[in-house]
């Protein structure tokens, strides 16, 4: 049976020594955090390393969580985002790197490259955007998060997230130029044209 206790209650119980309560939080957030990290790194082993460090840090710093300053979801996503930045900082100092797209082509590893090869068009799109825009687009389109959930993750409001999402897609469209004629033809040649695009 699913545990429906609120995160803040589980945190308080975990701090008082109830082992199982942190386990509930782990089960509740593991997949979300894993996907969040994976969509920034695209390498399974890297994602696993970072996710491990996220939950270790969450446990170490559980006493610093203050439900008056924000909810647990915001808190743990912030740890995850910083963990990704820390990971890339060890690889490339003095360069602000928030996800794999900030790494230059010459510094990408083979597993990352393999995944990127399967993202023929998306790679060129996402490289044109800022890390924040990439994050919002992937949260909405790939992770199918609601605007409310995205607002919690990025520490914004629903309205600001909606505007940011539209703005990001608008920027993308402007940077890519007129897409429909050329890319529709490309997709048709590849045999991946879907009926919805013909309308």
């Amino acid at each position: 049976m699913d545990d429906t206790r609120e995160d803040a209650v589980l945190v308080a119980e975990a701090l008082s020594g109830t082992n199982a309560s942190f386990g509930v939080l782990y089960d509740r957030y593991f997949e979300k955090i894993y996907r969040f990290v994976y969509y920034k790194t695209f390498v399974k082993e890297t994602a696993e390393d970072i996710v491990s460090s996220v939950f270790h840090k969450a446990l170490e710093r559980l006493g610093t969580f203050d439900h008056k300053k924000g909810n647990f979801s915001q808190w743990i996503y912030r740890i995850a985002r910083n963990a990704v930045i820390d990971h890339y900082r060890t690889q490339k100092k003095n360069v602000p790197i928030e996800d794999m797209f900030d790494i230059g082509e010459e510094d990408r590893t083979i597993p990352e490259h393999d995944v990127l090869l399967t993202m023929k068009h998306v790679r060129t799109y996402l490289e044109k955007l800022s890390p924040k825009q990439r994050e919002i687009i992937t949260l909405r389109i790939w992770e199918e998060k609601s605007y409310r959930e995205i607002a919690e993750i990025v520490d914004g409001t629903e309205d600001s997230v909606k505007m940011a999402f539209s703005r990001a897609m608008k920027d993308l469209r402007e940077k890519c130029g007129p897409l429909a004629p050329i890319l529709l033809a490309t997709l048709a040649l590849q045999g991946t044209l879907h009926s919805s695009l013909l309308s």
Binding site: G17, N19, E48, T118, W142, E144, S196
Partner: protein
């Protein structure tokens, strides 16, 4: 299933921004590509379960109640207290001090010292004489200042100001730093409210790296001698309220570029670098 999401997403985008109306075809292409090229995320259940076990087995050791934490700290402080007691017993004369409340009028407060220095510099402090104060103490004259502990030589009854070296660390007086940073919002910039230096200097913000060591996080522009207000300092990454930061003042070695190994931090009369916490709200 992906195709079912294209139209609603495009409609959403247009609802949020009317200027996108008329570009539905392009948006459909973009959204379609994003959906169809989404990388497959496969979670290794063995990894997930092993991590869960590791995390929770460490949980009982790492999570303590406040009482347990206080108890631990009390035990850690007991040896320190015993050492302090031993020192007091062995060196009674060296540790005889006059509490602040009974200090004579000759002891200046930091405000009085600042006023004196500013007056000597012509008021504004913008053209401070670099040689008017020792390099290690741009603000204080003659070693006086708030919180100075004085020792009394019982033979000569001469008051002198000297570092009470035998005192425990937590009673060593704190000299105010010559710069102020107010609590501020998270972001890529830290604003220094005011800073006063007698030599070209940098304010450097630090954070902690993975190993707990200090790491430079941002450096101010070169500060000219004198007082400056509202100095913006841009950091490598955006500051976060969940992280810890602190700032030090470093004296330029003359090349007008900050180099951590060559531009030494400014220290107080006890040799401690001036250090100010940077609080991110």
């Amino acid at each position: 299933m992906n195709d079912d999401r294209i139209s609603p997403l495009v409609s959403e985008l247009i609802a949020h921004d009317e200027s996108l109306r008329g570009h539905e075809a392009d948006l459909r292409v973009l959204v379609s590509h994003m959906l169809h090229e989404r990388p497959l995320v496969t979670i290794d259940t063995t990894f997930k379960e092993n991590l869960r076990t590791r995390i929770l087995s460490g949980h009982l050791r790492s999570v303590l109640s406040p009482y347990q934490k206080a108890e631990r700290w009390a035990f850690r402080l007991v040896p320190l207290g015993m050492v302090a007691l031993l020192v007091l017993m062995l060196f009674p004369e060296r540790t005889h001090y006059i509490p602040l409340s009974t200090q004579t009028d000759e002891v200046q407060t930091s405000t009085e010292v600042m006023d004196t220095r500013m007056a000597d510099d012509g008021g504004s402090g913008s053209t401070a004489n670099e040689e008017s104060a020792p390099a290690s103490s741009p603000v204080f004259k003659g070693g006086g200042g708030m919180g100075t502990m004085e020792t009394v030589d019982t033979d000569t009854a001469v008051e002198s100001t000297m570092a009470p070296k035998m005192m425990a660390m937590d009673t060593q007086p704190m000299e105010p730093a010559p710069f102020t940073i107010d609590p501020q919002p998270a972001g890529p910039r830290i604003m220094v409210r005011e800073v006063t230096v007698t030599k070209p200097s940098f304010i450097v913000v630090y954070t902690f790296d993975r190993n707990g060591g200090e790491m430079v996080f941002g450096v101010s522009p070169l500060l000219r001698p004198g007082s400056t207000e509202n100095v913006p300092l841009y950091t490598k990454f955006k500051t976060q309220s969940s992280e810890s930061y602190f700032a030090k003042l470093h004296t330029d070695n003359g090349n007008r570029l900050f180099t951590e190994s060559e531009d030494a931090p400014l220290t107080d009369t006890y040799g401690n670098p001036f250090q100010v916490p940077v609080i991110i709200e």
